[in-house]
Amino acid sequence: MSTKEPTEADILRPINTLTKKYFVLYGIATLALLVFLAGWAYQLQEGLVVTGLGDWGSGGGSTWGLYIGAFIWWVGVAHGGIILSAAVRLLGMDRYMPIARLAEMTTIGGLSAAGFYILVHMGRPDRMVTSVIGHYHITVNNSPLVWDVTVITAYFVLSATYLGLTLRYDVSRLRDQLPDRFEPIYKIMTLGYTKQEDEIIERMVWWLAAAVIIMAPLLLHGGVIPWLFALLPAMPAWTGGIQGPMFLSIALMSAIGGVTIISYAFRRAYDWDHIITDDIFRGLLLWLGFFTLLFLWFQLQFVLNGVFLGPNAKAVSAEAKLAHPLYQGAMFLIFSTLVYIFLQTIRPSLFSKKRALLASGIILTGTLTEKVLFVVEGFKHPVFDIYANTPGTYFPSLIEWASLAGTAGLVALLFLNLSKLVPVVELHAVEHMRGDHAHGDEATEPEVEA
């Protein structure tokens, strides 16, 4: 364990420093976003023909592709992030308190990227308000896409409220050490704050966390997002109840991977060895292994259901999935990571933060690949598999590839900006680690001995 005591100054360091590296990172993120924005502008000018997409059926293309794959991937990262943070509050997993806010911010970033993808993917994004919101009262009864937009909006509101409420405590206490140039923002954030509200806010946050934990499997990434695909009977690569648990496991894998990478970056940049401790990385890695195991289990269920005496269409799609080199590659990477995670629990010396970082990177790559493939596979082997031009061909265009960099840049920018505005580690966490926290919460999870 670290010998240093965490202080307020530690968590204020990102706000009160400005380094060259920060500017370089800011520049790269901005550039990535700008490149994609330019690509999107070209797409708006020319039409979606500039993408690699096309009509499935006689047309020999794929209706949806990387945009939708990346969309559900980002939603997964987002949903997983808020589940992670909610678990910290609800289940008393105080050990992860220092990264809870990073997870919440990941949610905001992931949802922003996902929302952006919805616009990018549409043929007429200009009609989003008139056509979608204008008919909402009718379409919400039928359209999974509308349910989707509904829960994403609901979760954005939920997460932002959650984040906003917990920030009031920190900002009001640390106000003197925060830069004056953001004064108006802090004023709005702490509007009407009194110390009496602390307890109420804690209760509110608890209830928000409870809502998140309950709704995640029922409605969020275990429900509405997979239903976008799983409810359609004509595409056997998508159908089935297993998609709910599958999507949820992917969400948690991706979110833990994402939070690990972000935590690593902050720890490195601001010497937070004593705040985001090795122990946190060990714990995250273990959880990553657990959800990876679940994911592989669900994959096995899905594929085996098709290849062993499946109905024609189901068998064809399952066999094609299994035979796809990218699928094999993604599963190999994910499985190898799982093996490593298990090995390092048996032999702790195999653990290192760099390896945890690598494992997270691999998992994120694996889940993104799986997501994009999943979307495209549906169009490749539909029930009505008669067309000579089906399976069609699809390879993402440069603009679609650039969207990945662009949205990653967008999320990075969000973190870079937020870290200059508010503490990304909760004051509560610091107080808790110092042992001067008023609460009697005991860590329910035994700490892993190094």
Partner: protein, 562 residues
């Protein structure tokens, strides 16, 4: 159902109380409204027939409101007509817009009674979904009441010769881009059905034998199925994809669609084509036909409330598919075109029969319900290139035949009456067989009754022939191979000529309730497309649209695919 309280309504006493107070606010009798509502629920539960319900309250309703336009009227009148004849139904024709009177009646029944009484009908008539969709307005979705007319098709796959004329006709009619094949025709094989080598053109491939069948290929003609339970419509996040109330066709509002392509994803048949780039035909150049200056004339279809842009090629960024030519159904291309589509009109062997699938006189209904007779009629009346036989008109018969003719001499004389075409025993046998099995329906003023009209023409000729020759005698029936002249033998004889196709709906198990019915062999689940009699490029069509789209893809690498 609530069993523990006295309430008749599934939502219980509280709800019922609310309705009652709503009724109290109207100027009409609440007790009558509640009694009717209670019995309306019994109708939905099947305890009471619609006609009984109507009769029970008819006098009270007439006294209270001065008229009785409840939705059960039809059932009641139908029951009445069985004893009284059809006078009331004929009078109904002068009633004008039924929709209007119904709405007025609802107003008079009071909000509460309407909600309970008519709402109950919503559930029994249309299923729960329909009542959910009710209330669409402001360019929103249409309601799902059962339309009086439901346009649909019966497509005879064994008459299709794979000439692709329907595809080109559709492309021209709608100014579609290359590769946007709203109508798509393909040849297929599966483990039980093989086919000759394709792509040789009709003559070489041995198409058109005699009476029967377009070609040796197994064909599938795939327009949009205009499903009653359209998955594309269900998933649409905007209501752009909708079913038109008045005639049940499924359309896309080009002014509302956001281009998310979820309809294309959800459609099991793959009938949707997205407008990935600017269409090749400018809007101004869309042929406005009667008013070429104004394309709106044919691109905008008629609705209860104004017009919507749903026809012809889509603008950039929105979805398109086969429309069943609403500009024709709305009469904008002339009365002759009502009840036809561009593909149907263009099909040389009349394999496509468009019409109101609920109207027993329509071509699609006739062809679906009486495929054998309809095939024979289509064959004898079409300008089908294979059919060298002909049916002489009554005038020709009267000019040619005399009282002294017997069956042999009559056939010989009629054969001689046309130099280029043949009249023989087989033609006469088919005519007589059609006569035996025919219900002799009158076309009336129904639209799209070509089949019945053609049948009538054939029967008029037959009647003329029978004026000279007795075709009912044993000898005559023997000569015509009609055995004892029974319906069974007539049907058997027709089947010898035109076959007896089975019928099917495409992907019936998915539950879309399509309004296209096929005659002929159904592709098995292992079926795959093969090269057909005519090559797409020979007909000026592009099959694989991706070839064209790939040209515009930024950073496209040939041959690389996920």
């Amino acid at each position: 159902m609530s069993t523990d309280d006295e309430s008749f309504h599934p939502l219980g006493n509280e709800w019922e109380g609310e309705l009652e107070s709503m009724l109290d606010d109207t100027e009409y009798d609440s007790q009558l409204g509640m009694d009717m509502a209670r019995d309306a629920m019994r109708v939905t539960e099947g305890e009471l027939s619609e006609a009984e319900f109507h009769e029970k309250y008819h006098d009270d309703v007439m006294e209270e409101f001065g008229e009785d336009e409840r939705p059960t009227k039809e059932a009641y009148e139908k029951a009445q007509e069985e004893t009284k004849g059809t006078v009331s139904r004929m009078l109904d024709k002068f009633d004008g817009d039924g929709e209007q009177t119904r709405r007025e009646a609802m107003k008079k029944m009071g909000v509460g009674a309407a909600a309970v009484g008519v709402g109950a009908w919503g559930t029994v008539d249309d299923g729960p979904e329909a009542s959910v969709a009710e209330g669409g307005h402001g360019g929103g979705t249409e309601t799902h009441e059962h339309p009086d007319t439901q346009w649909g098709m019966t497509i005879d796959l064994e008459r299709c010769d794979g000439c692709l004329t329907c595809m080109t006709a559709c492309q021209q009619e709608n100014d579609l881009d290359q590769g946007v094949n709203w109508m798509y025709v393909m040849a297929w094989e599966d483990r039980n059905h093989s086919s000759p080598d394709g792509g040789q053109g009709l003559v070489d491939s041995g198409a058109y034998t005699d009476f029967n069948m377009g070609s040796d290929f197994n064909m599938l003609v795939r327009p949009c199925q205009h499903c009653t339970d359209a998955p594309c419509e269900k998933v649409c996040p905007t209501t752009a994809r909708h079913t038109r109330d008045k005639d049940g066709i499924v359309l896309t509002d080009y002014d509302v669609c956001i281009g998310c392509r979820y309809c294309q994803v959800a459609c099991p048949y793959g009938v949707n084509y997205f407008q990935w780039e600017d269409p090749s035909v400018e809007y101004e150049d869309i042929d406005g036909l009667e008013n070429p200056e104004d394309p709106d004339e044919i691109t905008h279809a008629e609705y209860e409330h104004g017009e919507r842009w749903v026809d012809s090629r889509a603008p950039r960024g929105v979805m398109s598919k086969c429309t069943f030519c609403p500009s024709m159904q709305d009469g904008k291309q002339g009365d002759d075109m009502v009840g036809t589509t561009a593909c149907e009109s263009a099909c040389p062997p009349n394999a496509i029969q468009f019409g109101d699938v609920n109207d027993e006189k329509s071509d699609s209904y006739q062809h679906r319900e009486h495929p054998v007779k309809s095939r024979a009629v289509a064959h004898l009346s079409g300008d089908h290139i294979s059919s060298n036989r002909y049916v002489p008109g009554p005038e020709t018969v009267n000019e040619t035949l005399s009282e002294s003719d017997d069956i042999e001499s009559a056939i010989a004389a009629l054969d001689a009456a046309n130099e280029s075409r043949t009249f023989d025993e087989e033609v006469l046998s088919m005519m007589k067989a059609i006569d035996i099995v025919s219900e002799r329906l009158e076309p009336g003023d129904n639209k799209n009754t070509t089949m019945i009209q053609n049948e009538r023409t054939i029967l008029e000729s037959l009647d003329a022939i029978e004026g000279y020759v007795d075709l009912e005698s044993e000898d005559a029936l023997d000569t015509l191979n009609l055995d004892d002249g029974s319906e069974e033998s007539a049907r058997f004889q027709l089947q010898q000529y035109v076959g007896n196709p089975s019928s099917f709906n495409l992907l019936d198990h998915i539950g879309t309730n399509p309004n296209v019915t096929y005659l002929g062999a159904e592709p098995g689940s292992d079926a795959y497309q093969v090269e057909g009699p005519t090559k797409y490029e020979d007909a000026g069509l592009l099959d694989r649209r991706q070839e064209k789209l790939d040209n515009e893809t930024v950073g496209h690498i040939d041959g690389v695919s996920l």
